[in-house]
Symmetry: D3
Subunit: 223 residues, 6 copies
């Protein structure tokens, strides 16, 4: 059955903003090292850093019809997240769709497939994290679904989950855990700043984390 | 038999220029989604965009002898296109060969193998689309051919075909179809500009392409 | 047995500097096309070019404990080189460890695994050549060794070997051969500069290297 | 939070048996071409064909502790299904664990990682579908979970789902849909038998499926 | 334009038989090491060895409509060879199509995509060389062509070319060169039998091929 | 410098025999989980299980000249182990070389490249573990070395090291550690037999290894 779910929950914008500022590595750590998409998903250009609510798309291989359907469901601050029913590297998305999505307030696209017009996308500032850059065109013949649970690059994503994406990759935070994870992330950031200052002064991790005893007990030998 | 074909047909420079301006994705669409090289061929640096006539090279694995032979066959505006008789990631091409090719008016290299000295190549503005960046040296022991039909990254390329390459990848247009494809490409560009303006205004693809009826007939359900 | 070798030989800083200026492709050629790491090791950002003495790390998969141990062994000008006992793409290294290593004078990291916080690493100017960019966290449970012979990306590396890394990849020069290789590299550079000037004037490699006779004898036919 | 869910629903054994007899390709078609695990999951030996209820395992990379925990949860007819929190090719499972699982009535293992002792596994008739055959040992240091929803080879699997595996790969049927899918599968089998007989007599698919008109309308030209 | 070419040339059956008996490695050597398909194309079961005339298929990704069209064009002794317009691992072919093709005298299938029902295919003795074993179903929506030049696994194949396939892979011989290549192959076989006998007696290749002088001149040192 | 080392140490035949009987997984465990070659090295046919002394070969890409040189250095019970200076999938080795090696008492070949004539190799009982099955021919133009330290599939191998290979892959034991490793392997085997019997009786690993307390302390929760 092919459905479009029209009303999805979205997390608090302030929390989304904080998670975005924390970044992928920190958010991933803050939720016990879960939620990371596979590392083959890479940004099409460097320097973009976004967070937003997932509008999910389940699409057939080489068929981008559902992207048009999904764009109507976007609210400002959302991120499109596309998984496929079968692997595909085709170029589902290019400058026209980006123009349309951007006009609806979309912050970016995470796609377990290909994308094209990458220079245009950088020029208009629409960031994409994809499996491939590939000009191969797609068709509009087979239905998929919008705002259903999907798997994207090995991670389970539900509509309304918070997506965080930067140069390190992409991480998903379940809608219901956004606040908790954000608290853990902010605590981690505060803690890291203090450590960074000590490392800059030349202090060693061996001392900062009291590792010497444990290393000796584990049997490490200095020669 | 190892041959060098010395006189090859070349397409009209004005058409080549237009195809280059249209770009890979548009040209690929304009010829019914054919001609694309495999997406593992990537530019060694971003932002280059070229079009030109293919001077083709069929080379043994790890042997770049034929590149020297091919450079003599270059005319201003040509693009070197190298396929191998067996997969190789070795660095067939570097700054010296680029200097030589550039001095003959060559616009770039498409190579189903490796390339090195990539920082120098960017500095002198000689773009390369390759399978790998790899410093591994090559030998000059075994003949290949120049200006014969080759397969490069899964695409059949004949000498004199038009090559279009940009950040989206590489596309080939058969010499005899360059004019027809160009007309289709230009029509597509005109059409896309009008659509882009409407997308910027927030119009949906669902409405612009009259998709709603067809989606309903296909069975899409909104919940 | 898990050991940390505390005193390792290091090559003459002047030679290291020269090898770094020569670059990966030239050094690789100067030592008879040996010493190259596999081409899947890529810089996390473009434009960095370093040379230094290898402080080697043999690490378990997904466990970065030994990086803390290795940082204590660093002297200014050293480069961390990490190989794993089993393949891993996890993110062993990020901004905190980079801050610590940089504070000890470390010039960069070569890692046959993943790295994260890549935007921060570029911001502080700590270059890394890695197999993957991946935010996946690591644990600190299992010992490895520091300054033992390792295999990194298919190349054998001993502590104190000279590492050269730039946009073309990474090359290792055995500690005892640094001087000899450097002489060959410098000779090669001098030779290439003269050739580059002649190529710029339009001279062909076919003539410069007297290839025409040999090509004819090998059976190349011009048509 | 690391949990072991002790009581999971299981589908009707008669339905499971029927689905197993239908095989992966038919079951996949019968549920609208969904549920297939990625094709990199391959049987360690040919000819095995199983179906059963999934006892799921979420395991850390290179750590097989949870397999011991999961084996206690097995009932006769179950299939172990292991997904990892991070990619790993290590050999999580070998002849001892197979002996233990088999003694509890387990029908086989689906694992998005590596397996070893494959000759022994074939000898005792314990089939495995895995990503790799790899002797690399694993540790028992970090908790995971048993009988929670997992992703295995790109497919979402819940505890108690029906797993069907044969030489074509692996397919999952949601627990609640087993009966419906089975009916569709049986209908499909009946239909295929009649077609097979007609194909054997030389009848063409073009005629059997009335394709000629549609091909002509689509524009196919015979020359 | 989508076409079906109905009458294609075929090579002499006696020559095809001889080439099949010679096998892939010998035929590849006999035509100067050309014609080999990429080594990722593997037999779905071991021990099959076939030769025949290529009936070629150019198919869209995930769409097997043209296979039905191609089967009508088969003559006894032919081999189906399928290339795609875009990479796909989907299962284009299974037991029903195999039954149909076999009823028309087809000897096997070479496919740069996926295949399913592999146990049935082995049972009925219909060999396939494919890129993947994958149960994923395909659609019948988009035209391709039959008996046009295609690229399959990196090799250019024309309708009527001779295909040789065995456990070593697949090799293509151009229709017009079949007789010449066969003579070279037979000469090679005669020559190898004599060598094999000498090797069995313990004679060394170093002596049989008079390599010692050449090795010494090249600088090989025995220590 | 290209050398052939003519006299290499070899381990005690009785120890080699025992290590072979222990098999790859057990030997790998017995030496603290080291020595495993990368899992992409697979047997060309199933069921072979060998152990012997390594005669090592360092070969250029696509050049099998050194195999002829190495065969002269073989003693009965040896195993050829070939690493390349650059990645290659070409078919370095086929039935003639196998006949020659077998006549000298060689037990098999481990090769980080391709092999061909695989059906013949199985017929004469000469097992090979390789990266690829590929009919692509090689040349005899460039020297390498014999019986020098090499890297093969990511593992460092010295001439005279003990190689163990079976369906699980390949493991290397340093010449000087063969006796120690063998003792550990035999102890492990004795221990496993007792465990296997208990597992067959239905005893759980949780009880056999006293894991329940440790799991509880680690925080595992049963629900």
């Amino acid at each position: 059955m092919n459905v479009v779910v029209q009303n999805i929950p979205r997390a608090d914008p302030a929390i989304i903003k904080d998670l975005g500022a924390a970044g992928v590595a920190t958010v991933h750590e803050a939720q016990a090292r879960t939620g990371l998409l596979a590392s083959y998903i890479r940004p099409i250009y460097r320097g973009a850093s976004i967070a937003g609510s997932a509008v999910t798309i389940l699409a057939p291989p080489g068929d981008n019809w559902m992207l048009h359907v999904a764009i109507e469901q976007l609210q400002p601050g959302d991120i499109l997240v596309l998984g496929t029913t079968e692997p595909s590297d085709a170029g589902y998305f290019g400058d026209l769709l980006a123009t349309s999505a951007k006009a609806r307030g979309c912050r970016g696209l995470i796609i377990d497939a290909g994308v094209r017009d990458v220079r245009d996308l950088e020029a208009i500032g629409f960031p994409v994290w994809s499996k491939a850059i590939c000009a191969q065109g797609t068709i509009k013949e087979t239905l998929g679904s919008v705002n259903v649970p999907i798997i994207c690059a090995g991670a389970a994503i539900n509509p309304g989950d918070v997506i965080v994406a930067d140069d390190d990759g992409v991480c998903v935070v379940a809608h219901g855990e956004a606040e908790t994870v954000n608290k853990a992330a902010q605590a981690r950031i505060a803690n890291e700043e203090e450590k960074r200052a000590r490392f800059e002064q030349g202090e060693l991790g061996l001392d900062m984390y009291d590792m010497r005893d444990r290393l000796e007990k584990a049997g490490l030998i200095y020669v």
